[in-house]
Structure formats: structure tokens, C-alpha cells
């Protein structure tokens, strides 16, 4: 399943916290598209994924918005 999360206008680490809390309710293999405006997420969400067993599938930037797609792992 694919889900979306709006983390725009939030500053790190809030987008990471929102991602963490949303991922907790998803199951392995689900995709979560997180839309952000703080460029810090380009480092922080991948770091959070690496240490918590999830995967960043893509990071796309357009018009000041960054969309980070996370594939939920075993956690």
C-alpha cells in the first residue's frame, strides 16, 4: 500500500518524528511518501531509516518541496 504524509513547514527533527510515528502504524513493504520543506530531511530521514531498518526509495525535489519515499522494513 502507498501512503502520504504532509510534513511541510516543519523543521527537523519534526518531519523525522512524524515519519517515525506514521511508519509505526504501517506494515513491511508499505510505501510512505513524505512531503517536506526543510532540506535537513535529505540527511535525517535516510539516517533514521538506516538505523531503524527501513529504506529510502527516492528523494525528489521540486519547487522548494522535497518528497522522500520510504519503504517500510521489518523495523
Amino acid at each position: 500500500m502507498k501512503y502520504e504524509l504532509d510534513a511541510r513547514r516543519l523543521f527537523c527533527p519534526m518531519p523525522v518524528i512524524r515519519t517515525q510515528d506514521r511508519v509505526a502504524s504501517l506494515t513491511e513493504g508499505d510505501l510512505l511518501e513524505v512531503t517536506c520543506t526543510d532540506p535537513g530531511v535529505k540527511n535525517d530521514i535516510p539516517a533514521w531509516c538506516r538505523i531503524n531498518g527501513h529504506e529510502v526509495v527516492s528523494i525528489e525535489e521540486s519547487r522548494g518541496e522535497i518528497v522522500v519515499t520510504v519503504k517500510v522494513g521489518k523495523g
Partner: protein, 347 residues
């Protein structure tokens, strides 16, 4: 087979918590990290708003620590709950508006709650006896253990040999002889241990991870509270205290004037919440206005904004004032001279 014991480590992103967690991992303990976000945390990204700080690494140090340790990290939003800690600290403030002892008690209490919910056996912190003037003294360390409710389930691996036995030591889950006896403000033992573990490029030793320990920030916070007549605050308030020149010419208004492009960009996100001003005839900073200005005040605000722009030496600068309702007022003003901006206005 011996049951593997589990510890939750308070990870601030500084060196001490990194080392404390590593010491536990070396003893075969399963460690997971917990990091609390109060809203006052000094993050690489808020540093990086300003161009002069661009060279600093844009990383979350707690995540970086966890990755170096190979442990999970749980970041907990405590912004709302933290208000009571800051507004009503039982043990008072430190040199500035830092309620360090209450803060530590609160965080250990939250960690204990998390540990119980997640079936963890004990809590570790990177505290060192005598390291900090308020929260890490021989007299105050038992207060943290007692008032948090953690009692002997709170282990400080870096200075445990200076403290009474804790549950994990007594039960033999950890070997006390392999814990440490660090004390005082010196950093050499920690740096030597970091070298032993192969840690490099760690965050600046001795923390400095909270804006509330900063004198300038604390003054702005107190000014905010005094001007509003109460000590309430929202996330936007405390974020904006981190940027710009804060100028309060009178009790009715405060201007936040950006100092450079990075702050301009950051403050752009607040234009829908605050009246904002900028010079339209000359390049210059964005300013946010907090308060309830009269027409005269708005003129003065425009003169201040003009003073910080490229038109500062011009006879006349046109400044636009946009209210949150979308009303636009065009003000033609003479920029203030530097000496007309009184020292007492600067927050």
C-alpha cells in the same frame, strides 16, 4: 541461556551519551536510544539558517550517534509537555532560563515510562558527576534518580564507580569493574575513551545542545513573556527567537529583522502569521512585527526596516507593510540613523 538485558539510553547527540551507550554495548547489553525534542534543541539545521553557519554539518547529532553505535533511535516530541517544565521548574533555573535539573528529571521519567512500555530493564545516561553546575553534581544526581522514579534502574556508566550500586550492577547484568569513575568538568577522559572506541567527528564535547542555556536566547524568551503578560508560548514563538535582530521600541510592538538571506528565507514562512514589512524601493531585510502597533508605531517600524536595508543613506525609502488580512500600506519614510536605534530597544 542467559537472558539478554535491555537498556534504553538517553541520546542527546553529544559525546557523553554516545560513550555511555557504547560502554553498555561492549558489555553485551541490548541498547536502544531515546531522544527528546523540546523545541529548544540546537539543531544543525537551525544553525544552518544563517549563511555564516553553512559550513557546519547538517546532521541530527542524535541520529548520527545512533548510527555510529548501530542502535535504534526513538525521537519523542515533548514540546507540549515540556512547557510545564520550563514555566514551573521545581528546582529553578540555571545561569539563564535553563531548568536543567527539572529537565533531566523529566527526561529520565519519560525514558522510564518508555522502558516499562517496551519491556526494557534499565536506563542509562551519559551524566558525569561534577560535569554540569546544576544537574550533574553529586548532590543533584540522586534527585534525578529519585524524582524520576527510576531509582536504582538508572545507571550512569561513565561515573558509576563514584556512585552507589544500581540494579544492573547488583544483579550482575553489567560488570561494575568495566564501568568508569569520571568526574569533574575535564573532558580528557571522555576524549581518550572516544579515541579508544574509534569515535571521531563527534559533536562538540560537553553538550551545549539547548538554546535555554544561551544568554541571548533566554533574554528574548523573557522579553516575550513579559510583553504578553503570561508565560505561554507556541512553537512558532520559540523558533522565531532563534533568528533575526529582535527590536522592541515600545511595549506595543517588537520587530524581528532578518540579518541575511538565509534568515529572510526562513522568515518568509511566517508572513501569514505576522504583519511583515520590507522596503520596496531598495533591497533590504524582511521584518516581522509582533504586537498591536498604532499608526505612529508602524511609521517607526518602517524607519527601522529602512535603516537595515540598502537605502539606509537615502532621504526616503518606501516600505510596504502587509497585514495578515492581506491589507497593504505603503509608507514613505526617512531611515533612522544608527544612533536613533536605542540600545535599550535591542532585545
Amino acid at each position: 541461556m542467559t537472558q539478554q538485558r535491555k537498556a534504553v539510553a538517553l541520546i542527546s547527540g553529544g559525546l557523553d551519551s554516545l560513550l555511555a551507550a557504547k560502554v553498555m554495548l561492549e558489555q553485551g547489553i541490548h541498547v536502544e536510544g531515546i531522544n527528546f525534542y523540546t523545541g529548544f534543541c540546537v539543531e544543525g539545521h537551525t544553525h544552518a539558517i544563517r549563511k555564516k553557519d553553512k559550513a557546519k554539518p547538517k546532521r541530527n547529532n542524535a541520529l548520527w550517534s545512533a548510527e555510529r553505535l548501530g542502535i535504534k533511535l526513538h525521537i519523542i516530541d515533548i514540546v507540549e509537555e515540556y512547557k510545564d517544565v520550563l514555566i514551573n521548574p521545581k528546582h529553578g533555573y540555571g545561569a539563564n532560563m535553563n531548568p536543567c535539573l527539572d529537565c533531566k528529571v523529566f527526561m529520565v521519567k519519560k525514558a522510564l515510562q518508555w522502558a516499562e512500555e517496551n519491556d526494557f530493564d534499565f536506563i542509562i545516561t551519559g551524566e558525569v558527576v561534577g560535569q554540569r553546575p546544576m544537574s550533574q553534581r553529586a548532590e543533584t544526581m540522586p534527585i534525578v534518580a529519585n524524582e524520576s522514579g527510576a531509582e536504582d534502574r538508572l545507571l550512569r556508566p561513565l561515573c558509576a564507580q563514584n556512585l552507589p550500586l544500581t540494579l544492573p550492577e547488583r544483579e550482575g547484568w553489567v560488570d561494575r569493574d568495566k564501568l568508569y569513575d569520571f568526574s569533574g568538568r575535564g573532558r580528557k577522559p571522555q576524549m581518550a575513551l572516544a579515541a579508544e572506541f574509534g569515535f571521531e567527528d563527534y559533536a562538540s564535547p560537553a553538550g551545549g545542545c539547548c538554546f535555554l542555556t544561551d544568554e541571548s536566547y533566554s533574554k528574548k524568551l523573557v522579553d516575550l513573556w513579559e510583553s504578553r503578560g503570561n508565560r505561554e508560548y507556541e512553537m512558532d514563538d520559540i523558533m522565531l527567537l532563534k533568528v533575526g535582530r529582535h527590536i522592541r521600541p515600545n511595549e506595543r510592538m517588537k520587530l524581528i529583522v532578518s540579518r541575511e538571506e538565509g534568515e529572510n528565507n526562513f522568515m518568509n514562512g511566517y508572513k501569514k502569521i505576522y504583519t511583515h514589512l520590507f522596503a520596496s524601493s531598495h533591497p533590504g531585510p524582511l521584518a516581522l512585527l509582533d504586537g498591536d502597533p498604532t499608526e505612529e508605531d508602524l511609521q517607526l517600524a518602517a524607519q527601522i526596516v529602512a535603516r537595515y536595508g540598502k537605502g539606509r543613506t537615502a532621504d526616503e525609502v518606501t516600505v510596504e507593510a502587509h497585514t495578515i488580512d492581506g491589507e497593504v500600506q505603503e509608507l514613505k519614510v526617512a531611515p533612522l540613523n544608527p544612533h536613533e536605534i536605542l540600545e535599550s530597544w535591542m532585545v
